[in-house]
Symmetry: D2
Subunit: 142 residues, 4 copies
């Protein structure tokens, strides 16, 4: 397992234009885990006022990828092979919190789960749950 490089991860977050544009922020990171947040604004919503499924899917995907990255070898890259997101409840509130956790690391692929909670009036509700298969791309041979 590599030494966890939080600064590098923070920098990657801010370098990804779609993540910066969406407003996602990196909250915490540990070996095999990552937490992100997003302050909800009108532009994140569906026409009926609930958070768009695409926002929840994006958070789940990006947070899961970061969690997998914490366990990859130095210089390795991580790509999503596939993600399934189940939408458990309509998300209405002020803030999204996504917590991702590697459930099985591996040399070629890494299995990750992510939960997206919606904070409303001080209470968190689980809005979506995702499972993803990440491809681990080894760093180029020297």
């Amino acid at each position: 397992m590599p030494v966890l490089d939080l600064a590098a991860l923070q920098k990657q977050f801010h370098l990804a234009p779609f993540i910066a544009d969406l407003g996602m922020a990196l909250e915490a990171v540990a070996a095999g885990e990552c937490t992100t947040t997003l302050a909800l604004a009108p532009r994140h919503l569906q026409q009926n006022g609930v958070v768009h499924a695409g926002v929840l899917a994006t958070m789940a995907d990006h947070t899961a990828g970061a969690a997998a990255w914490t366990l990859a070898a130095a210089g390795a890259a991580v790509m999503t092979a596939e993600i399934k997101v189940s939408f458990l409840r309509a998300a209405v509130g002020e803030r999204l919190i996504c917590r991702a956790r590697v459930i099985k690391p591996g040399r070629q692929v890494c299995f990750v789960e992510a939960e997206v909670f919606c904070l409303h009036a001080g209470a968190e509700q689980l809005a979506a749950k995702a499972s993803a298969t990440m491809i681990v791309l080894a760093p180029p041979s020297p």
Copy 2:
């Protein structure tokens, strides 16, 4: 099957703030089918210059929902229960085109597939493929 109300669907598209913000446009619609497009800009990308998985997932989800909606009873609503998206190739190009198709309609749930193509230098490549289960919410009884 309801009479297909393209005007209503167009209006719904423009009323969904996240879809408008992302830049998705409704291209075509038919019974059980929907096509959307998105002109790619730097803000849709990952730090490595490829389209973010969240953009592909959002297009797949929204286009699939619209395809399901074309077969729902008048006044019914459609919600995504779950979507799985497989990312087949890095998407690099000028434009995304998403084509969704209902593979099995139903009274309670509707199964839909969506493909997202990336147009680059005049050629389309399949970047992602999704399958979704949509919940059909009957209109309220009179």
Copy 3:
């Protein structure tokens, strides 16, 4: 929530020919939860000696369906709309144990997760994890 009818569930288990043929047994049931077991035999294996993915998928599906059924209204039926199974580790051992849990019940659909553990030399290892969307079919109106 219905009164939990364990006897009825036990009976359903033994009435399903594929489940009886496979050798699955109902171990425990509670509101929103179900545990099943399977004593492994050579016929459950792949050519390389590990348990076939189809055996793990079958246990996950059937146990998830039973967990959902515990929360359905009296007389309602439960059908799998879709299931995704991630195969985390090769399963080698004497016995499989599957634990399923409803993560969000609902009137039309119910979301369930199932984990399949393999018991080998006294230790349990998580071999597969599944998430399923179950369709709840209301009992026929009187």
Copy 4:
């Protein structure tokens, strides 16, 4: 792409005890494609007379794996990372036919789709559709 070794694939099919026990047969194989069949018997059913979801999932998984294997390097092995199966219609009939097709091969992972049809009174109906991510395990270095 390796020279397609049908004999080796047939042999592997009959060497997998669960596949032999279930009654699955290899019907046809080509580069990136595989077709299997299963003659339905009472032991393949649910208590309500329809084919058990586990039978459909097993066929989809094994046929998808074989399709991926046709494109792997000589000596490479293929393992299912994950499979999602959508159950579109209750399967009732005399025979199942599963057709799998690689939608994107790759060095580390391979994306495959499989459709399971049920033959009843001379007509085929699509009962289930699956998408799987297969891990390609390179042959050991000499």
